[in-house]
Symmetry: C2
Subunit: 473 residues, 2 copies
Amino acid sequence: MKPWANSGLGRDLHLDLTASGSLSRGLRARLVSALRESIRSGRLGADTTLPASRTLAVDLGIARNTVAEAYAELVAEGWLTARQGSGTRVADRTGEPPHRPRPHITSSLPSSSPTPALSLVPGSPDVGEFPRTAWLASARRALTAAPNEAFGHGDPRGRIELRRALAEYLSRARGVRADPEQIVVSASSGHGLWLLARSLEGTFAVEGYGLHLHRELLHDADVVTTPMELDTLGAQPPDISGRHLSAALLTPAHQFPMGGPLHPSRRTAFVEWARTTGGIVIEDDYDGEFRYDRQPVGALQGLAPDQVVYLGTATKTLSPAIRVGWMVMPEHLIDGILAVKGIYERWVSATDQLTLADFIESGAFDRHIRRMRTSYRRRRDALVATLAERAPHVKVTGIAAGLHAVLELPAGTESATVDRATALGVEVMGLSTFRHPDAVENQVDGLVVGYSTPSSARFEATINALCQALPAP
Amino acid sequence: MKPWANSGLGRDLHLDLTASGSLSRGLRARLVSALRESIRSGRLGADTTLPASRTLAVDLGIARNTVAEAYAELVAEGWLTARQGSGTRVADRTGEPPHRPRPHITSSLPSSSPTPALSLVPGSPDVGEFPRTAWLASARRALTAAPNEAFGHGDPRGRIELRRALAEYLSRARGVRADPEQIVVSASSGHGLWLLARSLEGTFAVEGYGLHLHRELLHDADVVTTPMELDTLGAQPPDISGRHLSAALLTPAHQFPMGGPLHPSRRTAFVEWARTTGGIVIEDDYDGEFRYDRQPVGALQGLAPDQVVYLGTATKTLSPAIRVGWMVMPEHLIDGILAVKGIYERWVSATDQLTLADFIESGAFDRHIRRMRTSYRRRRDALVATLAERAPHVKVTGIAAGLHAVLELPAGTESATVDRATALGVEVMGLSTFRHPDAVENQVDGLVVGYSTPSSARFEATINALCQALPAP
């Protein structure tokens, strides 16, 4: 069999001439038959561009004229169209009954645009403010400068360029004690938590109210969760003499969803718990960059880098579309995490890693965060002012930081309020969604209002619709 | 507490003035002390740029002069350096004993550059040929044109732009019956296989020789694997009357690592097995784009789209750095996969997805593949010619397609040959690495030579070193 002398140009087209009838038939007839069947079956859809006749002829090892004649025959039959300049394409035969209808699956699946008209679901930044130009400039610099090995199988800890940039940034801006060697790049905080769950196993203590997605993810990784009670100082540490827990998952800078910082006495108490029992504190710093008052709330990790795993993510600062997160690890846990992560760089785009490294080092990340901090603070102030005017009986809490507020509702009104909001076209989540099924503290009725989620153009309309949905005094 | 009136410019710096001694001390003294301690502890490393004094003053809510004086004091003490134009930075105090040495972890971890000097490990394209310019052009077009919602939480099936582009490409070039609604974007073939394992569970039949990483991944997902015997026609289908298997994992276009195509009679037999038992065929089309003769080997999926899951990846065609793979799914399996994948777009970069969609639709993907096909065919021919001259007693097989060849060795010589190659600086893998521990067929001694892995500059030296390592006739 001769090697395939295809040219470096053109497009690939899979055709099996041996399957298109007897080999004694002429080549042209077999080619016409194979093309016609590919179109009739729907494999080659309307408007698919076919290779130039010269290219296909070389690929199939037949004369160019044979291909040109086959194309012409199918144009004459109406299967193909040929136009000067745009090549030969499959004709649009809409209206004719297709030989084999293509399946169209729409029923039980989420739609392609999961965000409804108006949304206050927490967890998303203002996606209209993604810094496209600056990001593309970083991508151009980073991909141009990257060594060739950056395009090969990577270090499972992540690109060194990104780990260096993060070490500097997290030390400076979040008070983390970070060395590039201690950082493991993940695809998101969730991915990091999943790696920890597979690596540590056992039972994790979680906050009585917390992100339901994290509970589901831990369950999926065969980790049992037990709730820690929340009071005005934040989460209460597990009993030191009680049964062994592998880890305690916390949101110290800004409790999710309640919104307060973990009290300094509790910070110390969790570190003490970890030192005494050998458990690990997992610090989910999901929106620590966004604080609107002068009270600094640095990372808990800075107090006890050997007891705390710090989790960060680009989701809130940049976009959930950038699937990059980071873990700052105590040294003794790194090998276990890498064993789970696999010997190949599992599931983190190297192009995004390189681009983010440049984005941080060039100062664009700090600039973007500071710009967005100003923008979100304005939104928060507008939300608080509107509620004070239109629903003064509703108490707003958890607003010193972050991208969401908690609206406390009269007992028993949460579910009806969420339903009214839905009917008014606003998706908003009740506090009960975030409550651990075994939580011991009293249930609080309330809404978790992600005020960073709406676009600027829709912000006012969304807040107005929310006010309409709130229960009367 | 007043809102934080920070400007939109500058850099963040975390400092806790309340922790820096008694509040009765002057502000400047507390600022100096907090900064000095941050540098002494190593949190702020050498060369870290500090915010401009104006920025830090606004952030901390203190007078600009106070910050300027504190900076000046620390410059005088040697903790900081100040240069016109480059701002205030942490001084490089190398040589002084640090207050708290930073951990440096090097011992048991893989090094940052996992590829040794010379490598013939299969599974990597020539990373020096990554089409940086064309990729960046696609990124620019795609990110500029993308709707805002592209930067939010995505559809768990993946971006519609990419699923449309893939449906056209896979139908045309690989003979897949693909509709965008049936495609689920994953982070890699491995990610896709992991999702299938978590969704289907049970026991999977795998080829007696196959990718060890896939076996490890299935094991990690709690799936048991049982080997199928390979003969000259390819894998033998499982016994229809035997115990139930959830799935059979195959490499039909180019058996990995042996290198032959699955015989048409076996293709039919596997489809028959799936139809009879309800098992799923998983088609790993890991390098189907690279075939060097005119025998077309289209996707098995085209024969039985309701029984076959087709897995593809950008790893071999573009780069392992692009963490994008795709699954073409039978309709009845999609809900199960999406339930495992999670309601958020888990772990696939939307920027890479959008860029790849443009890369395919603009024709750059076809052009790149055709160019690389020519380049790899030349490498293959050079490998075969060199071996024919220098080691005519070594049989080379599996070379009609793909990016690797199998070198058959005399019985009992494989391990020593791999060791000799290592001593000569060439990493190469023996066939035994890929053998299932329960495989029944006779063990074959051989090498799996990934000839796409070396850089062009090192290709000849690598092949020469390989020849030196081969056993004498």
